[in-house]
C-alpha cells in the first residue's frame, strides 16, 4: 500500500483500475433470530386453517384482529386537527406527557410528586426506558448487579448485556406448582450482595403471569430494605392485569409509600395499543427534589447521544388521553374491556381443560395467573408438539399469549394442551 502511494503524483487522481472493495464486513454472521418475534414469522409461513398464534403479547379482539383503541383514534384525530408543529422535544421529552405519566403510576396526590422528588424522562417505550436506566446504573454504580427473575422477558438480559451491566437470576417460577417459588425468591434476594438492583415486574409478570400477593410484596419490600437493595420496576401492563390502572400500580406505590428510592420503567405499548409509536417513561423516585434534578440531568446526558430527543407523536397522544378527563374515562372503560376479554378467555380455557382432561390434573393455575400471558408448564418437546401437530404457535418456554386467544378457539387449544402434556415427554 505504502509503495503504491509513493508512485502516485501527490493527490493526483488514481488512474489504475481498482477492483471493487471487498467489504470490510465480510466476517459478519447472521444474528440469532429473536425468539419471540421469530414465532410470528413461523406462524405467517404456516398455511394450516386451524393455526393459532399465541406468540407475541399483542392484544387481539375476539375475531383475532389487531385493535386500535377508540380513544387513540379520537386523540389522533384531535392532533391532526390541531395541526401542531413538529419541533424538537426537549431531551427529557414532552412536559405534559412526563407529568401525566408519573401521576398515572404514582397517583396524582402522591407526596413524591408533590415534593418533586421524581425524575421522569420520556423514553422509547419500555425497552428504551429500561436502557436509559441501565446506562445510569452502569455509569454510577459500576460493578453493581441487576437481579432478574427466572424466567423473565427475553429482552431484559440483552438490554443489560449491551449496557454492560452484569446480572444474576433470582428464583421465581416453580414448575412443580406452576406458581411462585416465593421462598426461593426471598432467599436469592437476601443472598445478593448489598446494594443490588432488583428488577421486579409491577404486575402481570412476563412470561409467567404469576404475581406475588400483596402480603408477599410486603415481604419482598422488607428484604430489599434490609439488604439495602434498590427496587427497579418494569411496568409494561398497568391496567392490563386487573383491568384497573390504580390496582395494577399497587406494588410500586407500596414501595414508594415506605419512603424507598425506586426506579420504574413504563410502557404504553399494550395498555394503549401504541406498540409502534414507542412511548414510555423512566422514573427515578429520589429522596429529595435536588437529587431528582441531578438524576434527570444525567438521564438526559445519556439520551442525547442515543437519539437526541424522543419522538413527539406518541407522547402527544398519551398526554391528550390521560390529561383529558373524558378521554381518560373512556380509556379506563376500554382497558376494562380488554382485560375483561382476557379474563373470560382464561375461564373458558380452564373450563375446557377441566372438562376434557380426565386425569385429575389441577389446571387452576390458568385462573390464578394474571395478565396477557400464561405459563402452561409445557416443556420444549411438548411445545414443539403444540406447533408441529396442532399448529399452535407459542414460545418454547411454555408461554402462551391469551391476548391472541378467542373464546371460539379455547376448546381446540385445550385439546392441544392435554395431548401435549400427557402424550409427549
Amino acid at each position: 500500500m505504502f509503495e503504491l502511494f509513493c508512485c502516485l503524483q501527490p493527490f493526483g487522481r488514481v488512474s489504475m483500475v481498482v477492483a471493487s472493495n471487498v467489504s470490510r464486513f465480510e466476517g459478519i454472521t447472521m444474528a440469532s433470530p429473536d425468539p419471540i418475534l421469530g414465532v410470528s414469522e413461523a406462524f405467517k409461513a404456516d398455511n394450516h386453517e386451524l393455526k393459532l398464534n399465541l406468540g407475541v403479547g399483542a392484544y387481539r379482539t375476539e375475531e383475532l384482529q389487531p385493535y386500535v383503541l377508540d380513544v387513540v383514534k379520537k386523540a389522533d384525530k384531535l392532533l391532526l386537527e390541531k395541526g401542531e408543529n413538529r419541533e424538537y422535544l426537549p431531551i427529557e421529552g414532552l412536559a405534559a406527557f412526563n407529568k401525566v405519566t408519573a401521576e398515572l403510576l404514582f397517583g396524582a396526590d402522591n407526596p413524591v410528586i408533590k415534593q418533586q422528588r421524581v425524575a421522569t424522562v420520556q423514553g422509547l417505550s419500555g425497552t428504551g426506558s429500561l436502557r436509559l436506566a441501565a446506562a445510569l446504573i452502569e455509569r454510577y454504580f459500576p460493578g453493581a448487579k441487576v437481579l432478574i427473575s427466572s424466567p423473565t422477558w427475553g429482552n431484559h438480559k440483552n438490554i443489560f448485556n449491551d449496557a454492560r451491566v452484569p446480572w444474576l437470576e433470582y428464583r421465581y417460577y416453580d414448575p412443580k406448582t406452576v406458581g411462585l417459588d416465593f421462598e426461593g425468591m426471598i432467599a436469592d434476594i437476601k443472598a445478593a450482595s448489598e446494594g443490588s438492583f432488583i428488577l421486579l415486574h409491577g404486575c402481570a409478570h412476563n412470561p409467567t403471569g404469576i404475581d406475588p400477593t400483596p402480603e408477599q410484596w410486603g415481604v419482598i419490600a422488607d428484604v430489599i430494605q434490609e439488604k439495602n437493595h434498590i427496587p427497579f420496576f418494569d411496568i409494561a401492563y398497568q391496567g392490563f392485569a386487573s383491568g384497573s390502572l390504580d390496582t395494577d400500580a399497587a406494588s410500586v406505590r407500596m414501595f414508594v409509600a415506605r419512603g424507598m428510592e425506586v426506579i420504574a420503567a413504563q410502557s404504553y405499548s399494550k395498555n394503549l395499543g401504541l406498540y409502534a409509536e414507542r412511548i414510555g417513561a423512566i422514573n427515578v423516585v429520589c429522596s429529595s427534589p435536588e437529587a431528582a434534578a441531578r438524576v434527570k440531568s444525567q438521564l438526559k446526558r445519556i439520551a442525547r447521544p442515543m437519539y437526541s430527543n424522543p419522538p413527539v407523536h406518541g407522547a402527544r397522544i398519551v398526554a391528550n388521553i390521560v390529561g383529558d378527563s373524558a378521554l381518560f374515562k373512556e380509556w379506563n372503560a376500554e382497558m376494562e374491556m380488554m382485560a375483561g376479554r382476557i379474563k373470560n378467555v382464561r375461564h373458558k380455557l380452564f373450563d375446557s381443560l377441566s372438562s376434557k382432561d380426565k386425569s385429575g390434573k389441577d389446571w387452576s393455575f390458568v385462573l390464578k395467573q394474571i395478565g396477557m400471558f400464561s405459563f402452561t408448564g409445557l416443556n420444549k418437546a411438548q411445545c414443539d408438539n403444540m406447533t408441529n401437530k396442532w399448529h399452535v404457535y407459542m414460545t418454547k418456554d411454555g408461554r402462551i399469549s391469551l391476548a391472541g386467544l378467542s373464546l371460539a378457539k379455547c376448546e381446540y387449544l385445550a385439546d392441544a394442551i392435554i395431548d401435549s402434556y400427557h402424550n409427549v415427554s
Binding site: N21, S125, G259, P305
Partner: protein, 453 residues
C-alpha cells in the same frame, strides 16, 4: 467507588419513613448540552426583540416553525392504520428502500442489486449511534476520525459507544474555508483502514464544503488508504436546494467503488424534527451479506429502543413513494434552501453597507443552514448580553433564524461587536500595527474553533 458508595448508604433495618436514602448522592449535575443551552438562555431572556440563531431548525421569513404541506398531505393519507404492528415491518422496509434510493440514486448499481443493509433510525443521531455500536462490535479496536470542527454531539455518540475519536484538519480559520492540504495530509497519515466521519454537504457547524474536484481527490486517497467513509447526511436538499446535487459527494465515492455507510436524517429537509425519522444504511457485497448485516443492526437497536416510531416512518415513506407528494416536497425544500441563501446574501450586503472593512465573503461562500461567522467567544457573549442575539459559543449562526425583518439589526449588532477587530484591521492596513500577536482564546482569536463539547 463501590466502597464510598456503601459509606454513603445509611445501613439501617428501620422502616421509618424519616430515614434518608442516599442512593443518588454521588450523581452530579450534568453539563448542559451546549446547543440546547443556547435555546434555554434565549427562552429565559425577557427582551421582546430577542433573536435565536442557535438551533438548526428552519424558520420561515416570519420566524415561525413550518410544517411542510407535503407532510400534511402525507398525514391525511396515513390515517390510523399505522398503529397496527403487523404493517410496521412493511412500512419500515419501504422507508429504507426509498431513503436508499434518495441518497444513492435510483439508478445506482447498489440499489438495482439491493447491495445495502438498512434500518430505520431515530433521525441522524440514532443512525450514527447504531453505526458507532456496530463499528465497536465488529472493529473493537478501531477509532473514528472527525473533521475539526464537527457537530458537538458526534463526540458523545461515538464516546458512549466506547469508540475513541481523533480529528482531521478541516476548517481554515484564516480563510474561513476548507484547509484542503492539511485535510489530505491527515487522511494520508491516518493508519490504513481507518473510519472517517464525513459531512457530504452543508457541513455543521462551518458550512464549508469541499468542491466536487476536491471530493474526487479525497475519494481517491481514501481508496489508496482503504479507509471507511461514514457519511452523516443531515441536510440533503438544504445545501443547494437540489437533493441530487447535495448527494454528489456520495455519488463520487460510489463511482470509485467504495464500501460506505450513511446516516440520513429527515429532521431538517422534511421538517420532521420531533418525529425522529432517519435511516442507517451500509453498503454490502451482495444481498446475502445485506441480510446478515441488517440482522446485526436490528439486534443493536432492539436493545436500545426496539424500533423507531411508526408515525414518522409512515410519513417519510409516503412522501418519498408518492410521486405527487414527492414533487411537492422537492419544491418545498428548494423554497427553504432559497430563503436561506437569500438571507446569507442580505446579511453580507448589510454588513458591507455598514462599511465593515472585515471580509464577510464567507457568509455567502458557506453552505446550508449554518454560517461559521468567525466571531470570538467574547463577541458571541456580547451579542447575547447587549443585543439579545443568541448563537453557540463557536460563533455558529443558524441562518434559518435570520429574517427580512431582523437582518439589519443582526448586521448592526455584528458590526458593533467586531468594532475592535475593525480597528485592528484599519490600523493594520495603515501599517501602524506592527505584529499580529497570536492570542489563542483572547479577543483577537478568530479561530472559531472553541467548539464546546
Amino acid at each position: 467507588m463501590i466502597i464510598s458508595r456503601f459509606l454513603r448508604r445509611g445501613i439501617s433495618t428501620s422502616t421509618s419513613p424519616t430515614r434518608r436514602w442516599s442512593w443518588w448522592d454521588h450523581v452530579t449535575q450534568a453539563l448542559k448540552d451546549p446547543i440546547n443551552a443556547v435555546t434555554d438562555a434565549f427562552l429565559a431572556d425577557p427582551c421582546p426583540y430577542k433573536i435565536n440563531l442557535g438551533v438548526g431548525a428552519y424558520r420561515d421569513d416570519e420566524g415561525k416553525p413550518v410544517v411542510l404541506q407535503c407532510v400534511r398531505e402525507a398525514e391525511g393519507k396515513i390515517g390510523a392504520t399505522n398503529f397496527l404492528e403487523s404493517t410496521s415491518t412493511a412500512i419500515s422496509s419501504k422507508l429504507v428502500e426509498e431513503s436508499a434510493k434518495l441518497i444513492y440514486g435510483e439508478d445506482s448499481d447498489v440499489i438495482k442489486e439491493r447491495r445495502f443493509a438498512g434500518i430505520p433510525a431515530l433521525s441522524g443521531t440514532g443512525a450514527c449511534r447504531i453505526f458507532a455500536e456496530f463499528q465497536k462490535r465488529f472493529y473493537p479496536d478501531s477509532t473514528i476520525y472527525f473533521p475539526d470542527p464537527t457537530w458537538s454531539n458526534h463526540r458523545n455518540i461515538w464516546g458512549d459507544a466506547h469508540v475513541p475519536d481523533r480529528t482531521f484538519h478541516y476548517y481554515h480559520p484564516d480563510s474561513k474555508g476548507l484547509n484542503f492540504l492539511a485535510l489530505m495530509d491527515d487522511v494520508k497519515n491516518a493508519p490504513d483502514g481507518s473510519f472517517f466521519l464525513l459531512h457530504p454537504c452543508a457541513h455543521n457547524p462551518t458550512g464549508v464544503d469541499p468542491t466536487d474536484e476536491q471530493w474526487r481527490e479525497i475519494s481517491s486517497l481514501f481508496k489508496v488508504k482503504n479507509h471507511f467513509p461514514f457519511f452523516d447526511v443531515a441536510y440533503q436538499g438544504f445545501a443547494s436546494g437540489d437533493v441530487e446535487r447535495d448527494a454528489q459527494a456520495i455519488r463520487i465515492f460510489l463511482d470509485d467503488g467504495h464500501s460506505i455507510g450513511c446516516a440520513q436524517s429527515f429532521a431538517k429537509n422534511m421538517g420532521l424534527y420531533g418525529h425522529r425519522v432517519g435511516c442507517l444504511s451500509i453498503l454490502c457485497n451482495d444481498k446475502i451479506q445485506a441480510v446478515a448485516i441488517k440482522s446485526q443492526l436490528k439486534q443493536i437497536s432492539n436493545t436500545m429502543y426496539g424500533s423507531p416510531p411508526i408515525h414518522g416512518i409512515s410519513l417519510v415513506s409516503k412522501i418519498l413513494s408518492n410521486p405527487d407528494i414527492k414533487a411537492l416536497w422537492l419544491k418545498e425544500v428548494k423554497v427553504m434552501a432559497t430563503r436561506i441563501q437569500r438571507m446569507r446574501a442580505t446579511l453580507r450586503e448589510a454588513l458591507e453597507r455598514l462599511g465593515s472593512p472585515l471580509n464577510w465573503q464567507h457568509i455567502t461562500n458557506q453552505v446550508g443552514m449554518f454560517c461559521f461567522s468567525g466571531l470570538t467567544r467574547a463577541e458571541v457573549d456580547q451579542l447575547a448580553k447587549e443585543f439579545h442575539i443568541y448563537m453557540t459559543h463557536d460563533g455558529r449562526i443558524s441562518m434559518a433564524g435570520v429574517t427580512t425583518k431582523n437582518v439589519d439589526y443582526v448586521a448592526r449588532a455584528i458590526h458593533e461587536v467586531t468594532a475592535s477587530d475593525r480597528d485592528t484591521k484599519i490600523l493594520h492596513n495603515i501599517g501602524a500595527y506592527k505584529a499580529y500577536t497570536f492570542d489563542p482564546g483572547g479577543k483577537k482569536d478568530r479561530t472559531g474553533t472553541g467548539a464546546v463539547i
